[in-house]
Amino acid sequence: MSIISFRQVSKRYPGGFEALKQISFDVEPGEMIFLTGHSGAGKTTLLKLIAAVERANGGTVLVNGQNLSVLRPRAVPFLRRNLGLIFQDQKLLYDRSVFDNVMLPLLITGQPHREAARRARAALDKVGLLPREKADPVTLSGGEQQRLCIARAVVNRPAILLADEPTASLDAEYADIIMAMFRDFNQVGVTVLIATHDRGLIEKWGRRSLALAHGRLA
């Protein structure tokens, strides 16, 4: 069974803008897949629908076997705990250390503090930020901040990783490092969905890709 499934999904924002029109596709468990298209093509909207940040106006979105159009608001947090989200604008919290940023998802799920700290350090280690755990996120470089986002997204061991333009602000060399991390997570069974406008990335990594143009799948 597909882990993500869209059936005739449409999304219209208040004001009439149609971000997605009749989209249908499936993602299999353990797949790593790219979502491409020019900016404004609907990539971010599509990711938001998967995370139930936005709701579709028509069609069915299935994630992990759950039909999101009938999902009660109370159930949304538990859906999201199974997703690792990497946002285009990063959404790091600058009032706390690198370590505490990664701790946040674990505290939310009520993990015992010692176990949470161990897992947070393991996640930081995986992205190579362990030596900087006490640092202020502001003092990190752009690439390091992106790695911090990844550590926060994977610390809860999600089944699905959604990344919105994770390499947009990075040079090619750093982009490769980030992409290699995604590949590593994918190799241990995590389903990875990466939205990017960088066609070179797709050619280089040679995975299946969904191309969006003006809200439709090309």
């Binding site: 947090p77 999201r80 705990r81 946002f87 959404k91 946040l104 799920t109």
Partner: protein, 300 residues
């Protein structure tokens, strides 16, 4: 269960830390809440004290019918029959001149005076309970009984008490209204305090929700904060009322002693204090709950 406890404990620690981080703002908020609660609480204390003062005397409407001192047993029996037959009489209690004197002797303030008496100057009397508070009834019966043979005097005992009772009832209603308004004020104060806190932490709330925080998780530290603010405000109001009553009692003492009474204004007891603190904590909790819920609804 352990996870649940852990989540609550974390929120509690967080809220305490936040209270301590801005001691100035916390103090001001506590004072505002304290004053808002101290007004009705103080008023309530005064009313309760006056009520217990008045409560020593029955507030039932009564008439006292005094007979002439020369009245014989037959005269007494005659009056009793008439009095019992009168319309609007609920109870009739006979107080003989001997038992009245005995009662007077029991009062330590009067013993000395009574000892100087050679014979009993007190009349036989009936204490008559009336069926209703209607002043017209008291007036009619007063006239009726006064016309009976061997009746020297009829006195309406309870008029002033009724007036006091009515006044106290009015005061109680006024205090209750004040308390209602100021409870709203307390909820509004915590609502606004929490709203400001939410604004400064909007980003953290947004990120937390995106990575799977439930509404309850978001709400928890804020409602703890509100409840603690309320509880501290309650304690502050108790402190204010206690010290105010102390000052008032110092002035009240000479006044009360003029009336030969040791009357003083009692502060709220332990149960009352706990109730006030609990109530204001609950109101703080409510204000915070509404504030966070409003924000969560807006953000959805």
């Amino acid at each position: 269960m352990r996870t649940w406890l852990r989540l609550h404990w974390l929120s509690l620690v967080q809220s305490l830390a936040r209270l301590g981080r801005a001691p100035g703002a916390t103090l001001l908020n506590v004072l505002v809440i304290g004053i808002a609660l101290a007004l009705p609480l103080g008023g309530y204390c005064v009313i309760v004290n006056l009520q217990s003062l008045a409560g020593n005397v029955s507030i039932e409407p009564e008439l006292s019918v005094f007979l002439v001192t020369s009245a014989t047993r037959a005269d007494i029996a005659g009056v009793e029959v008439k009095v019992r037959a009168a319309e609007g009489v609920k109870s009739v209690r006979f107080v003989s001149r001997d038992s009245a004197l005995a009662a007077l002797k029991r009062d330590p303030a009067m013993t000395e005076m009574v000892a100087t008496l050679r014979d009993n100057p007190l009349p036989d009397a009936f204490v008559i309970g009336l069926a209703s508070h209607d002043p017209r009834l008291a007036e009619r019966l007063q006239g009726e009984f006064r016309a009976l043979p061997k009746v020297a005097h009829v006195q309406a005992d309870s008029a002033w008490l009724q007036r006091l009772g009515a006044l106290l009832g009015f005061g109680r209603t006024a205090v209750a209204l004040l308390a209602c308004f100021l409870c709203f004020a307390l909820v509004a104060v915590t609502f606004n305090t929490i709203r400001l806190q939410i604004l400064t932490r909007a980003e953290e709330i947004e990120v937390s929700r995106l990575i799977g925080a439930t509404d309850a998780y978001i709400r928890r530290p804020f409602v703890y904060f509100g409840a603690m603010l309320g509880a501290l405000g309650g304690v502050a109001s108790l402190a204010m009322v206690f010290s105010a009553l102390r000052v008032l009692n110092r002035d009240l003492e000479p006044l009360a002693s003029l009336y030969g009474s040791a009357f003083s204004l009692e502060p709220p007891g332990l149960t009352g204090s706990v109730a006030v603190t609990g109530l204001s904590a609950a109101l703080g909790w409510l204000g915070a709950f509404l504030s966070v819920s409003a924000h969560l609804r807006r953000a959805r």
